[in-house]
């Protein structure tokens, strides 16, 4: 439908009050974008390095463990480290298997409503902070290519659920140490923490909340979806926390597996 006709026209122009300066804020408004930028750049650098390593991503039977880095799971290339491969392999792919799968978690985070807020502020300066002038002469937001692609967020959410399932399976497998039987190691706890935080990040997603119940017009006619929505709403309020925590822990998990696989540290068995 269209807007109500014969409504008052918006008059453009007119002198604005206050001085013509970028901002009158006196607090450290620049701190948040700088911190965000630093963390995200660090993560991109580390994950790119890790993705191209193509080694030390799996701790197998030789070390009596079954730990795989989340950056490399599922391992779909034909040259996976023995024991780390999945049900099927893509023959002919000889580069790092991480490059096959990282698009999906990357796409999920890139199109995430919370990360959009963060990187629009930190990198694009549109705006860098509230009440601070943005850095662009014109602005079309997410109405045109390429940013209109942000609307595919829910498809990355679906893909993310598949990955969460796989990483949960990886965490489960980590509790069975080859040659030793079932037991709890630091590695199994790290993988479990990683899978848990990724589930929390996905379940607190705005698209998830919408698809589970937010899209209905009448809660009273959809009581189950209303319950789901009520369950997800407090999680959604903490989406930012889960976004950062899961980002840190996924990198931490890769670091841990890499250190154990390279022999730098030993994965301690607790019981």
């Amino acid at each position: 439908m269209t807007a109500v006709e014969n409504s008052t026209k918006v008059t453009l122009g007119g002198t604005r009050g206050g001085p013509d300066v970028a901002t009158l804020r006196t607090d450290r408004w620049w701190l948040q974008p700088v911190v965000t930028m630093s963390i995200l750049i660090s993560f991109v650098i580390y994950s790119t390095w890790a993705a191209f390593q193509n080694k030390n991503y799996y701790v197998g039977a030789a070390l009596q463990r079954d730990l795989i880095s989340p950056f490399y799971s599922p391992c779909l290339s034909a040259n996976c480290t023995p024991g780390s491969s999945s049900l099927f392999a893509i023959h002919g792919w000889t580069w790092s298997p991480a490059l096959l799968i990282l698009l999906f978690p990357l796409g999920f985070r890139m199109t995430c409503y919370y990360y959009r807020r963060s990187y629009y502020r930190a990198f694009w300066w549109a705006p860098p902070a509230c009440g601070v002038a943005d850095a662009h002469g014109t602005y079309t937001g997410e109405t045109r290519f390429p940013l209109i692609i942000q609307n595919v967020h829910r498809y990355f959410f679906y893909a993310g659920l598949v990955f969460n399932g796989l990483l949960t399976y990886d965490a489960f497998r980590a509790y069975h140490q080859p040659g030793l039987g079932w037991g709890v190691t630091i590695g199994s706890l790290v993988l479990t923490l990683n899978a848990t935080l990724l589930w929390l990040y996905s379940l607190s997603c705005h698209a998830c909340r919408h698809l589970c119940g937010g899209q209905v017009k009448s809660f009273s006619q959809h009581p189950i979806r209303h319950r789901l929505w009520k369950f997800l709403t407090p999680l959604n309020a903490k989406h930012m926390n889960f976004a950062w925590a899961s980002l840190f822990v996924v990198a931490l998990t890769d670091v841990y597996v890499r250190l154990v696989a390279s022999g730098a540290i030993h994965d301690i068995r607790l019981f």
């Binding site: 439908m1 008052t8 604005r16 829910r154």
Partner: protein, 259 residues
């Protein structure tokens, strides 16, 4: 007795500048108290809007130290040491001193198609509590227009005002879209004419809202997701086609406009 330095913007459409005032500071005072004292003692012609002094009318919205705030709800002791800068809302044309012309918002309010309930069923309309509660948050809006003021889409880009409703009216659209008795479908409208896609979720509107309405999380993002349902999700389209949609299409709505 401690003192406070106030830098207040004075001027009109022909230009202006800061005027500085040194005043005594009393415990518990808010910025509006000091502005009133300036009016009473040093600048009786200082123009500012105010009404309830309780954070419920939204009249005294200005920018304090560069951020939109209600003067009546901003205690002096919550502000950092040093001069306090008070300027009019930047997004709207100046009338005089701290008073701006916010008629842009009234023009956008006029464009919102009203609620269109279905034909009255026998026994009248009924709404259940969970449906009432859902829209209640949006009804808390006091129309201070600070969310509109801080939104960079129009704050920094005047040309976007023609096709951008702004956060205050996105919560109105969201409220209507979530109303169980509304039969209009406004998703095309908010996408094509009201500029929902311009919003890039920077959440400044939520940050400045004095009523703590979750404008972005509970109104704008749900609206964006509804637009995705309608335009960018083939699975949702297929589902609608199979189940048959219950809301009126844009074409149907155009034939029978809202009352």
């Amino acid at each position: 007795m401690s003192t406070v330095t106030m830098r207040v913007w004075r001027g009109d459409a022909n230009g202006g500048d800061f005027q500085q005032f040194e005043l005594e500071k009393n415990e518990g005072e808010v910025v509006l108290d000091v502005i009133h004292r300036i009016q009473a003692t040093e600048a009786p012609d200082l123009a500012c809007r105010w009404n309830c002094k309780a954070g419920k009318c939204g009249s005294c919205a200005v920018e304090i130290n560069g951020k939109p705030r209600l003067m009546c709800m901003t205690r002096l002791d919550t502000l950092p040491e040093g001069a306090i800068t008070v300027t009019p809302m930047r997004t709207f044309p100046i009338i005089r001193d701290l008073v701006t012309d916010v008629s842009f918002n009234y023009a956008m309010a006029e464009r919102v198609p009203a609620l269109l309930p279905p034909e009255m069923p026998e026994g009248g309309y009924r709404m259940f509590q969970e449906d009432v509660e859902r829209g209640q948050e949006f009804r808390k809006c006091i129309e201070c227009f600070m969310c509109q003021d801080v939104c960079h889409v129009i704050r920094d880009h005047e040309e976007n005002k023609v096709n951008y409703a702004g956060p205050r009216f996105f919560i109105r659209y969201a409220e209507l879209e979530m109303h169980p008795l509304d039969t209009n479908d406004r998703r095309d409208l908010v996408r094509e004419e009201m500029g929902l896609g311009y919003c890039n979720i920077t959440k400044c509107c939520t940050e400045v809202c004095p009523e703590h309405i979750h404008i972005t999380d509970n109104a704008i993002i749900p609206l964006k997701e509804r637009v995705v349902d309608a335009h960018y999700d083939p699975i949702a389209w297929l589902g609608r086609s199979i189940r048959r949609k219950t809301k009126r299409s844009a074409a149907e709505a155009a034939v029978q406009p809202a009352p």
